[in-house]
Symmetry: C2
Subunit: 395 residues, 2 copies
Amino acid sequence: MTDILAGITVLDLSRVLAGPYAAMLLSDLGATVIKIEQPSVGDEARGFGPFINGVSGYFVSVNRGKKGVTLDLKHPRGREVFLRLAQKADVLVENFRTGAMERLGIGYGALSAANPRLIYLSLTGFGRTGPRSPDPAYDMIIQGMSGIMSVTGEPSGRPVRVGTSIGDLSAALFGVIGVALALFRRERTGKGGLVDIAMLDSLFSLLENAVMRAAVEGAPPAPLGTRHSTIAPFDVYPTKDGAMVLCAGNDVLWGKFLDVAGRPDLKGDVRFSSNRLRCENVEALTAVITVILSERTTAEWIEVLRAADVPAGPLNNVADAMRDPQIIARGMLSAIEQPGAGTFTVAGSPVRIDDEPPPAPKPAPALGEHTEKVLKDMLGMGEGEIGELRKEKAI
Amino acid sequence: MTDILAGITVLDLSRVLAGPYAAMLLSDLGATVIKIEQPSVGDEARGFGPFINGVSGYFVSVNRGKKGVTLDLKHPRGREVFLRLAQKADVLVENFRTGAMERLGIGYGALSAANPRLIYLSLTGFGRTGPRSPDPAYDMIIQGMSGIMSVTGEPSGRPVRVGTSIGDLSAALFGVIGVALALFRRERTGKGGLVDIAMLDSLFSLLENAVMRAAVEGAPPAPLGTRHSTIAPFDVYPTKDGAMVLCAGNDVLWGKFLDVAGRPDLKGDVRFSSNRLRCENVEALTAVITVILSERTTAEWIEVLRAADVPAGPLNNVADAMRDPQIIARGMLSAIEQPGAGTFTVAGSPVRIDDEPPPAPKPAPALGEHTEKVLKDMLGMGEGEIGELRKEKAI
């Protein structure tokens, strides 16, 4: 069921990436997500390119399917309207710096008193506790601090950034896990709760065995380019027309590879007769494989290796990946028809429950597009009150 | 509440990484996780280094806190015991290739008929549908196919691997989201369900706006080393004693940086007077910042920049990150006292609910360590039957 969160209302106060992405995942799963933005200003991501007819593709890609409401949280009447919305909501997502919501008088304490069933997701750079808690952070700061850049890059080069904003995105994923678990608990206890997710914690936890290796080996792991630390062959190799990935790391797969390659004679080569030896002699191994693979094209190799059940695959760029038959068959590419702009192509949700097809993506909201409708539908507000709020610039 | 999943029983049939990591997250959150392994063989990750006294740190790091049961699923009596366990379980996690569980007679259809409340998490390289569905995959294959490597690396270099197994880990995170949502739904409907997560879908979805950019711009995005595509300064720069990250991407932060740097004269430099211009003149900008930052050490810069609220941070290796005061204050480092081996240091869970401290990590199981106890406690099995199963090598 792709609408597993049907009936759940999410208030999304967040900007740019971690919060919007978390709320987008909830929207993709059927929740009604109301994005609340500052009147006439809005999420700064509305100004991030590329654009089609002035509409930000960046904004559309992570705010699809949400309803857009403007509300000035620094205005007393704006804050009062917000509190009424929070009383009707199930989940709140925010990614302000620690303490900002409290300074507005709408921190977790106040909201939870007004609505004990509310689940409050706080996404910050450093979390709500600890010495760095109030510090500003961006994905790049967190990638640098977490250690993930130090294991990414060429062995002889400098650390490089993971090419997607994995600091924001990993926090969003852990945040959605926290929200889903809190929803599960609320069914049993009737109570909401506070989910406190730090980008730094999230990315650090994804280092997983690198942390253990640094402690056991007494030295931090180094970047290995495209190679695996303890399995070989498990790398990128050149082919006749490009490059490809080959993972024949155990002895059975290595033997199958040599058969497909027409080099069964190498099965007797003592330098390569176990994974340990292949790792120890990885330069000689790479040289041998490079000679073999350069004889055919990537597509030819992948076809024969797949037929022999030897794990192999292309080294795709993003456009290649978007043309991949498996990506297309899984419905992972979605076209959003954005009014006034045109078609934006985005990656769909990877969560498949009960073999249901992925949801059809909906457009992102214009700034304040649904303000009146939401105030009427959720709060039963009349035209008069809405007019007053507008006059006072509270909405 | 760190034990938000207390009372939930998970059967973990998985090996190596994606499945074990997903089940570990469930264990960290309070679930009882029973890891089921092939008698006398076990999870192949038990053979992955580094080791302390012959115990695999790799295995301990992602199987901490689980109970260990051996069961031969190809033996009729082993399968029968498994079915009885599945009738008592809430969640099953497996990462065999698509179709393998069906060939054993314990696919989702059979298990769901035996226990309609069961939530079944399938983690595969390519998902349960589509042309590549049955193909073998490893993290490296998925990193190559998804496009993430094509945006990671130096602009002048070749694509590099993200230095953590992000293909496995992202699938695990989406899998836990699916399981948590299915638990939520089960509270309302009484019914379990099938969660079908593909590593390729998961990693492709994390490309997020790169997919949109490839479509809008008509060309795939290229790797940028440490730089951001549309914000400047947002990069790694050398300092007197190393390198650091500086993110002063909007005009206010850029002005603050120049004040801290003692270079307010540069506020009038037309090459740098807006983010767009700083991006257009990024080489000149980098040269100017490099001269400024090379005058002090990383620690000195971070102190003064943080005092001025300018986002900046160190470029840590994994050992540096493990010493970071914020990582330590958040309880993100855990020491596991593994019997017969010693202390393994691992990254803790980043999910904080209701300000509860992170769970104390428990050791990983030896192969079959809890077989008898689990069969007695969960199935009420007697010594006689357990002895027979052992004699027949079914456990």
